[in-house]
């Protein structure tokens, strides 16, 4: 038995440094003028549609989308640089996050020409926001067990069932739901399909689920016979499992998997009472995880699907986020969500938002199961 988990080193093209400088300049100006308040876990907890539109104006959303669909026609590695800078600054990117990270690539890969023309320009400008419906009340880590069902009707489908943890559904213009359109089969992966349900819709009820800090990011989204016209099926009927799992390496290896507390680390390092040895140790881990994330991004841009390496980034990256919190606690500062002191507030945000990071997008136990399978012991 031989271990098969490796990272092939990758580098960001040198020309992305100019782009990085532009993003930093923009962020500094925006923060100085009160355009945004940096927050922890900003890709889930920091929704600001106005800020999203500002990014869209600069061509920093839907970056890899072709120009004919309103995109910037830049590379995935250029997008990497932009999002890592936004995340490290705690900029509010949650409103457009799903649309930019998942929906734009899914539309480009599986969408019809009409779907691309209808949705991509809005995604690239930050005016069309998406939510994604995967989990259900009885279907968390075991995604193949989804029960939300679409049945054929005149000209399309009727969707019935309940999706949960639908981030941002209350501000989204559409939700992409994974639904059952046929029997699961022996593999349990058959009979699933993805459908675009535009919002608002009389057959869709969106109920808020408040998080630990009382904030509203999650929803329960109930489909009570929502009509989905045939042309709003995304991809192929019955191919939903492959479509959803095919993007997991993108979802799991990105910088959002280790940067949710980067703002806290930067604020900690700026304090006079920071222990430089501790800051150095965290910086070293951050450097390493970022190299791993870049390695996966380069592989993805070359057409590979390094799912196992992506699982490593998310498992170890999310655990690193916790280490930053413990280091910040060593200051003795008591976390306070209402504090006007940024460090005190961001520490509080980091603490109460921490549990989500090792759950969403595949729990760490599931991820280690994926790695164990690659090692041949499962």
């Amino acid at each position: 038995m031989k271990a098969t988990v490796f990272f092939e080193p990758g580098t960001l093209p040198p020309e992305t440094e100019r782009l990085r400088a532009e993003v930093r300049e923009f962020l500094a100006a925006e923060e100085a003028s009160g355009g945004f308040t940096p927050v922890a876990d900003s890709w889930v907890s920091g929704a600001d549609p106005v800020f999203s539109r500002k990014l869209g104006e600069r061509g920093w959303l839907g970056m890899a989308v072709p120009r004919k669909y309103g995109g910037a026609e830049r590379t995935a590695l250029e997008r990497f640089v932009v999002i890592e800078e936004l995340l490290a600054a705690g900029a509010p990117v949650a409103a457009h996050w799903i649309a930019d990270r998942q929906i734009a690539p899914a539309l480009l890969q599986h969408g019809t020409e009409a779907q691309k023309e209808r949705f991509l320009p809005g995604i690239a400008s930050g005016r069309t926001l998406f939510s994604i419906g995967l989990s259900e009340p009885d279907s968390g880590s075991d995604l193949a067990s989804v029960r939300t069902k679409a049945t054929r009707t005149e000209g399309g489908w009727l969707v019935e069932g309940t999706k949960i943890w639908t981030t941002g559904a209350h501000i989204a213009d559409a939700v992409v739901a994974l639904v059952r359109t046929g029997p699961a089969g022996e593999s349990r992966h058959e009979g699933l399909s993805q459908m675009i349900v535009t919002l608002p819709d009389d057959g869709v009820e969106i109920r808020p689920i408040r998080s630990l800090d009382g904030a509203h990011h999650f929803n329960e989204t109930v489909f009570t016979g929502a009509f989905v016209p045939e042309d709003m099926v995304l991809g192929t009927i019955g191919n939903g499992w492959q479509q959803v799992t095919g993007e997991l390496a993108y979802e799991r290896s990105g910088p959002e998997r280790f940067l949710s507390t980067a703002l806290l680390l930067r604020l900690l390092a700026a304090r006079d009472d920071a222990d430089s040895r501790v800051i150095g140790a965290l910086t070293a881990r951050l450097w390493t995880l970022r190299q791993a994330s870049i390695a996966v991004a380069v592989q993805l841009s070359e057409g590979a699907a390094p799912d196992t390496a992506a699982a490593v980034v998310k498992d170890l990256g999310t655990r690193f986020e916790r280490e930053v919190i413990d280091a910040a606690r060593a200051t003795g500062v008591r976390p306070d969500l209402a504090s006007i002191d940024p460090f005190t507030r961001v520490l509080a945000e980091s603490v109460v938002r921490a549990p989500g990071s090792t759950l969403r997008g595949g729990t760490n136990e599931i991820l280690r199961g994926i790695i164990a399978r690659a090692l041949g012991v499962r």
Partner: protein, 338 residues
């Protein structure tokens, strides 16, 4: 990794695996040119880049080869070459003198070296010892030195070396060349070696977990054991990646490689502890015996993580860089690597 590099890795691995406990390993790898891969050809080396040098040293570490390859290939030979001094055949080693440990005094056309350097790796086995002191680099004939025997936890020789008025000709001494310090090179070399030893510990653990049966099934069937193995595999993959990226940075004269080496080093030293601990947990009591081969990997992990600065020392270096002049951790880690 392309097919040429795979071939190099397989070739090196085959040689190192075949020479366990048998003499002649050094001669064979020297004959094939492997000991000087990464050293420029015009300086008498074999040429090749940092990727190839990493592959060879990592393979040697994986197979616990008992030779001063890191000291020759990564320290002595590159420093001699950079200083314009001849790179002799045979095993070499190198050491940097801390303040007042040695004294180099001019004597006519030559120099005289006095003092003692502690725990120099493989000193007794080396033909020449490269000594860095006081802005100069000396190539010292090891037969002119005296030794006091010491070993690291893994039993590798780390003798104290005494220079008792050792005379050096002018041709044996040069100005210390520009470029990465001996300590930085050595910290990186041990990092590459840690990655190799850690992969050995992981492979042993995978094999043992598949073979050892308890409660009627292989222990690898237990989820707790699977999760340990997955954690080890992730740490090993990251150590390996960090070592490769840092080696490429160090080999590139256009960049300051201190951040990359320090970060890779901190990460690897920390991970070495995690990997060794989990490997032993998976092996149970048999892994704690002198007879079991796991010892060769884990004792090296525990030794090499301490040599040339452990994670605490290098964390302090990185931490000081972050507190210097408006640098924050994010700017430090995103500084371009090429």
């Amino acid at each position: 990794m392309n097919s040429d590099l795979h071939l190099l890795e397989n070739t090196a691995s085959d040689i190192f695996a075949g020479y366990r406990d048998r003499p002649g390993l050094w001669e064979e790898i020297e004959d094939t040119g492997l000991t000087l891969v990464g050293v420029p050809e015009k300086a008498g080396g074999s040429g090749g880049d940092s990727t190839e040098a990493v592959i060879i040293l990592r393979a040697a570490a994986y197979h616990c080869a008992e030779i001063p390859l890191a000291e020759t290939q990564w320290l002595a030979a590159p420093l001699l070459a950079a200083a314009g001094l001849p790179v002799p055949a045979g095993p070499l080693t190198a050491a940097e003198a801390a303040h007042d440990e040695v004294r180099l005094t001019a004597d006519g056309d030559g120099w005289v070296l006095d003092g003692t350097l502690p725990q120099v790796p493989w000193a007794r086995q080396a033909g020449r010892i490269v000594v860095v002191t006081d802005g100069r680099l000396c190539s010292v004939d090891a037969s002119h030195c005296t030794f006091e025997t010491h070993h690291n936890l893994a039993g590798e020789p780390r003798d104290d070396v005494t220079f008792d008025s050792v005379y050096l000709t002018a041709a044996d001494v040069a100005a210390l060349p520009e470029g990465p310090s001996l300590r930085l090179r050595a910290a990186l070399a041990r990092t590459v070696q840690l990655a190799g030893a850690a992969r050995r510990a992981l492979d042993h653990s995978l094999r043992y977990a598949g073979e050892r049966r308890q409660f009627g099934r292989p222990i690898a069937a237990f989820q707790a054991v699977q999760q340990y193995l997955a954690e080890m595999a992730g740490e090993v993959a990251l150590m390996d990646l960090g070592a490769q990226v840092a080696a490429a940075a160090l080999a590139d004269p256009r960049q300051d490689s201190e951040v990359a080496v320090a970060a890779a080093r901190v990460n690897a030293c920390r991970a070495a502890g995690v990997v060794a601990e989990l490997a032993h947990q998976i092996h149970g009591a048999i892994g704690t015996t002198h007879e079991h081969d796991l010892r060769r990997a884990t004792l090296r992990l525990w030794s090499w993580r301490e040599e040339y600065g452990n994670e605490h020392a290098w964390s302090t270096v990185l931490g000081r860089l972050t507190s210097a002049a408006s640098e924050d951790p994010w700017h430090l880690v995103t500084a371009p690597t090429t």
